[in-house]
């Protein structure tokens, strides 16, 4: 499938989601409550079979938290971006996709560690790099007390 065909296919298959094509990769934004089911379908549908997550990024937008999944289908060699936003910014929570894509388990731990995003049903949600009592440094309102980053 070319990028345009993929966008058309995704629009048909997920009418609830918002699909964009003007960006570098095909982009699909889903509602937080649909995330887990959509992820499962993206992996299991033979025409899509997105089985390889090569990047998972948490972003602190001013009003909420966003999680961006870069996924690739090894069989079809196509790439897409799956996006989701949490409802709340201070106590963000989202369903885990680590049961769909195993590697997401560790990337989610990183997002939890640095941004404080809570992943529901995650089997091993612990801090990855920092101490338990450390703040969440990648949040925009993080106070850098020992001035690691000078502004």
């Amino acid at each position: 499938m070319t990028k345009e065909e993929l966008v058309a296919y995704l629009t048909g298959k997920f009418p609830e989601a918002e699909v964009k094509s003007g960006t570098q990769y095909a982009e699909m934004t889903v509602k937080a409550e649909d995330l887990h089911e959509t992820a499962g379908q993206l992996k299991e549908t033979p025409e899509l079979s997105f089985d390889y997550v090569f990047c998972l990024t948490g972003v602190d937008y001013a009003e909420n938290m966003g999680i961006i999944y870069h996924i690739e289908s090894v069989e079809h060699r196509q790439v897409m971006v799956l996006k989701v936003r949490t409802a709340d910014r201070l106590n963000p929570a989202i369903d885990t996709v680590s049961d769909v894509w195993i590697t997401a388990k560790y990337h989610e731990r990183e997002a939890y560690d640095l941004l404080g995003i809570h992943f529901n049903n995650h089997t091993d949600l612990r801090r990855l790099f920092l101490e338990d009592d450390w703040g969440f440094p990648l949040r925009k309102d993080y106070v850098d007390e020992i001035r690691i980053v000078e502004r």
Binding site: Q24, Y25, C55, D60, V74, T103, E110, R127, F129, V149
Partner: protein, 377 residues
């Protein structure tokens, strides 16, 4: 008879005793500060729990406060053996976002430097792999040859490891007048030395006994865990970014993606050895054909990326490296994420070592070729 039975029952009891051992953070074979919490039963590994963060330096946070050309210098410090590829990833990402087309000369030089860095990295991997298995001689052979590449880097970039040579828009400076001659001399030299590696280690009975059938990582697991690079390709996972999403001068050269389907430690070893030959082939195709022209295009004094999200994938010596930039139109990024190959590779370790002996854990970890600052960032 009854006495003998009693003894058997006793050894049985001994064997079921589980205990935990901390391997690292200062263990020599972790090649840095990685701590593994290993659950053992006798000598058998039951579970490996990696604890990272000992060298977490907040590079992603720092990037949010600095400009794009400054980020280049931080990427050197992540995977210091693939420093040039990391530089290139950021440079390409910024160039794509600004829709700047660099001259062919830049593309050729970048690709040659990529492959030199890959050779240097694989050489170092080879010498420490031998050393981890107890063969100290490899260390001297590998470092002897790596020195030639580092000298070339030093002459052209001014630094041996943290090269900071690619920059948005091209290169920091042109290649040294000696560059082509020295690279050609090195290729000639290394073509005679690389078969020595095979003679010294590859056919060794002890090496084969310790690697064949050890540390099995199936193709499905490699994809599930996102294990890329030579480690993934040894499981048959065709993940070479140079092939699938070619960048710089890779579209102009012919090379093979080395795939192996044996999935074990020996396969990962042999993929890397064969990749060294491929790197030599790539450099040979390019070194005589570096086009004349500028080594950089004129860029604005302050680079501001348009609002949006930009992703760039490159192939480092360890696997797929990615730079993801979220820009809000200012001179510094809103959010930068580095997808480091070592991060994903590390977490497949538990899956690969289960049921093997603790000595095999060292061998398996060594073939994953982990660089800890690359994982912790």
């Amino acid at each position: 008879m009854s006495e003998i039975r009693e003894v058997i029952i006793k050894t049985d009891k001994l064997a079921t005793d589980k205990y935990q051992v901390n391997m690292g953070p200062q263990h020599p074979s972790t090649h840095g500060v990685l701590r593994l919490l290993v659950t053992l039963e006798g000598e058998k590994v039951l579970n490996v729990q990696p604890h990272s963060g000992y060298i977490h330096s907040g590079i992603e946070k720092m990037c949010e406060a600095i400009t794009y050309p400054q980020i280049i210098h931080l990427t050197d410090r992540m995977d210091y053996l693939s420093a040039h590829m990391n530089n290139e990833a950021v440079a390409l990402c910024v160039e794509n976002a600004l829709q700047v087309e660099v001259p062919d000369r830049v593309k050729y030089i970048r690709t040659i430097m990529d492959e030199l860095a890959r050779l240097a990295s694989h050489q170092l991997w080879w010498c420490v792999f031998g050393m981890d298995l107890g063969a100290l001689t490899t260390f001297f052979y590998g470092l002897r040859d790596r020195e030639h590449i580092l000298d070339i880097f030093e002459e052209t970039c001014g630094a041996r490891m943290t090269v900071s040579y690619s920059t948005p828009g091209g290169l920091m400076f042109d290649i040294h007048p000696n560059f082509q001659k020295r690279v050609k001399d090195f290729i000639k030299y290394f073509r005679t030395k690389l078969p020595e590696y095979d003679k010294l280690l590859s056919g060794n009975v002890i090496l084969r006994e310790r690697t064949e059938g050890i540390g099995h990582l199936s193709l499905k697991d490699a994809i599930d865990f996102g294990v890329t690079g030579p480690s993934g390709r040894a499981s048959g996972f065709s993940s070479d970014v140079r092939k699938h999403n070619p960048y710089s001068a890779y579209p102009f050269v012919k090379f093979n993606e080395i795939l192996d389907h044996r999935c074990d430690t020996l396969a990962r070893y042999e993929v890397r050895i064969l990749e060294m030959y491929e790197s030599l082939n790539i450099i040979e195709q390019l070194i005589d054909n570096i086009p004349e022209g500028d080594y950089a295009v004129k860029m604005k004094g302050v680079l501001k990326l348009p609002e949006g999200e930009f992703y760039q994938r490159v192939e480092t010596a360890r696997g797929e490296f990615g730079v993801f930039i979220v820009s809000d139109g200012k001179k510094n990024p809103y959010r930068v994420k580095f997808r480091s190959p070592g991060f994903s590779n590390l977490f497949a370790l538990n899956n690969m070592t289960k049921g093997h002996k603790i000595a095999d854990l060292i061998a398996i970890m060594s073939t994953l070729d982990l660089i800890i600052p690359d994982i912790d960032r």
